[in-house]
Symmetry: C2
Subunit: 103 residues, 2 copies
Amino acid sequence: MEKMNLCPKFETAFQLLGKRWNGLILRVLFQGPVRFRDISANIPSMSDKMLVDRLKELEIAGLVQRTVFPETPVRIEYQLTDKGKALEPALDEVQAWAEQWME
Amino acid sequence: MEKMNLCPKFETAFQLLGKRWNGLILRVLFQGPVRFRDISANIPSMSDKMLVDRLKELEIAGLVQRTVFPETPVRIEYQLTDKGKALEPALDEVQAWAEQWME
DNA sequence: GTTTGTTGCTTACCTTTAGTAAGTATATTA
DNA sequence: TAATATACTTACTAAAGGTAAGCAACAAAC
């Protein structure tokens, strides 16, 4: 078989996107800036702890920006960066595949 | 925030695609029928055990077909089903994103 | 006729990650 | 005073991932 050149970018990307919950979290974020409870309400099977962990990872990876509004109670908004927004076509393709082929 | 309808197909799809190694394995399978060692040689950081586990899952999910040729030593070929092949546009989009935005 | 090689796995073991349930700090409302 | 809300933490257990070795079936080499 022909030896293909390994693509570390693709591998890294898939380890990020492929990590459980990240696809679903990103899909919620495509709606625009949202708050912690908005995300968790849309993904009821995910625990708060997982959401905290994933949002931190996505922020470090540069896909998500976190903004604090020092009101009471505190309001925190999560929104996609340009890098995060650029993922929309890819996730749309996954969704199209899921609708056609799953079940 | 507007309540979005949960999409279990999308969730299931992403739990499958998002699971570690699956994206990379599928990318190798897009080349055509391949053998166990072809895949493992292309993904050197993955252990045999993980590859066995993932190929079984992908077969059960209907994305991969396994064919045994009873030669000596035995030859086993893995290839994508139509459902598996239909994923190519989605993975291409992920790859395009990775090349533009990673690092 | 015992060793070596090849293939596609298993098995045992240990570590890392995921998941569950409860709790925290801050402040407003009843 | 107690309840409510937000966005997390913490402690714990279960599940998944990762490592290294071994296995069964032959064939060919020595």
